[in-house]
């Protein structure tokens, strides 16, 4: 299979699905408020473009911000865990509690704590909670996987803890960290959207609000437009992380080298 067909096959498949969808909606005269045809959705998207794009930007802004904070917290925690075994056994289970608790369940608490008029802050915090664990778990795994002989090499050269962290552990764990970040960036988007649903009613300007509002007004075409933008945002974030990963690992990592050859 050549490269061109790898890119175009899914696009062609999607077009075929749209054509069949359009045809079926027309054939059975399905009502607009049940299932709009693709053409209705694209018309709605065009009509509400400004509002929808602003909402998308707002959701993306919070997602990226939450993702960055989550990444920094997670790498920071992993570094602390790598330096102190006692802190690791004490704190790691607590981070697991955050991971296994559904975000919807803690949302009301966070909203009360930061104040109802501070919806964006509540969404940000909830999104960070959802997104930080994969980076933490992967960074932790990366630090534990550091080659034993390389560690000994650093010991023989009397490297300080700081030198070992900066020159060995962090670079060694980089592919692991990036894998965690790739999972995390998708979770940050999900976290933001779910948090907007719970916290954002009325005061939030994200895509979730448009979905809730158009759902209530049975404007299903607009709801679908918002969904499409949400999906595109997710794809954009994933591609962004993949590009960052590729540019960092391009020269030296087996995973990238193998894909190229």
């Amino acid at each position: 299979m050549n490269k061109l067909s790898t890119y175009f096959s899914p696009i062609i498949a999607l077009c075929i699905i749209f054509i069949i969808w359009e045809f079926l909606v027309n054939l059975f005269s399905i009502q607009l408020y049940i299932l709009p045809a693709p053409t209705d959705i694209f018309l709605s998207l065009n009509d509400n473009l400004r509002e929808l794009l602003l909402a998308t930007l707002n959701t993306l802004k919070i997602t990226l911000f939450a993702f960055l904070i989550a990444t920094l917290i997670a790498i920071g925690l992993a570094i602390i865990f790598s330096l102190s075994k006692i802190l690791e056994i004490s704190l790691y289970p607590i981070t697991v509690i955050f991971q296994v608790t559904p975000v919807v369940a803690i949302a009301p608490l966070i909203i009360i704590w930061v104040g109802l008029d501070n919806a964006e802050m509540a969404i940000l915090i909830l999104s960070v909670i959802v997104a930080f664990f994969p980076v933490l778990a992967n960074t932790n795994l990366g630090f534990r996987s550091v080659d034993k002989n390389l560690k000994e090499l650093f010991l023989i050269n009397r490297a300080s803890k700081w030198q070992t962290l900066i020159k060995l552990n962090l670079p060694y764990a980089t592919p692991y960290i990036l894998t965690g970040m790739k999972t995390s960036i998708g979770l940050a988007l999900i976290g933001t959207v779910v948090a907007e649903f719970v916290a954002g009613t009325g005061s939030s300007a994200g895509l979730s609000w448009i979905i809730i509002e158009s759902g209530n007004r049975l404007d299903i075409a607009k709801l679908f437009s918002a969904l499409i933008l949400l999906v595109l945002s997710g794809i954009f974030l994933f591609l962004l992380m993949s590009t960052i990963e590729y540019s960092i690992l391009r020269r030296w990592h087996q995973s990238v080298k193998e894909n190229e050859s």
Partner: protein
């Protein structure tokens, strides 16, 4: 240079027992022994990575000590270029160094034009050369090698052996070389020690006379005789198990 007196080492069971060994400055000593006889443990003790359960490992002048360690795998950092890999010990010891100095070491191990390559662009032999240059760059006076050439093909192996000897003859650092290969040990060293297994003890010691030409020596009858002699000792060391 390096002295082992009454060294015992125990993990779950005894690994090394009653090791008494004195290595002079500038000497090239090889250690032969069956798998699991504690050869690598001996190197770890010599490099201070491990402390003996009993006995003492000490150095003649610990202040000036600079240890180079070559592992069985090249143990390079894949995210660093060849140049950045070999200068690592200088960086860690916060020593200032010139690019010329590093390039000189690359040239000495035959990697003149590879400074900007990454390890995954090198062959096994080239990676081992980088590893050797890295172990020597920080003014090494005690070089410890743990079966460094075991994974290489015969031709690459012989070339690397000769290159190592050439550098050693110029720099005169002390070498402790662990290997599985009897002929490699005889060819390279001035003294060969044979360890028995379970627990590792020095059961035989052989001084190798200096020859004008190493190549001639390798082909000589005497080389074959020493080879058979050491091989027999090695075999009886295994049988002791």
């Amino acid at each position: 240079m390096l002295n082992f007196s009454n060294v015992h080492m125990k993990f779950d069971k005894d690994v090394l027992s009653d090791i008494n060994l004195n290595i002079d400055s500038g000497e090239f000593v090889s250690i032969l022994g069956p798998s699991g006889c504690g050869k690598s443990t001996l190197l770890r003790l010599a490099s201070n990575l491990a402390k003996p359960t009993k006995g003492v490992v000490d150095y003649i002048s610990p202040k000036d000590l600079s240890i180079g360690f070559v592992f069985q795998n090249p143990t390079l950092m894949p995210w660093r270029t060849v140049m950045e890999n070999i200068t690592l010990p200088l960086e860690l010891n916060k020593k200032k160094f010139s690019k010329e100095e590093a390039l000189m070491w690359l040239a000495r191990v035959g990697l003149k034009d590879k400074e900007k390559s990454y390890p995954n662009e090198l062959s096994g032999g080239q990676m081992m050369r980088v590893s050797i240059a890295r172990s020597l760059i920080n003014g090494c006076n005690l070089l410890l090698l743990d079966e460094p050439f075991a994974a290489l093909d015969e031709i690459t192996r012989r070339k690397l052996e000769d290159d190592l000897l050439e550098i050693w003859e110029k720099e005169k650092f002390t070498v402790l070389f662990v290997t599985h290969s009897v002929s490699e040990a005889i060819y390279l060293s001035q003294r060969v020690l044979v360890l028995s297994s379970g627990p590792g003890k020095i059961v035989y010691e052989k001084n190798i006379s200096q020859y004008i030409s190493k190549e001639e020596f390798r082909e000589s009858k005497e080389f074959q005789a020493i080879n058979s002699e050491i091989f027999e000792k090695l075999k009886s060391g295994v049988n002791n198990e």
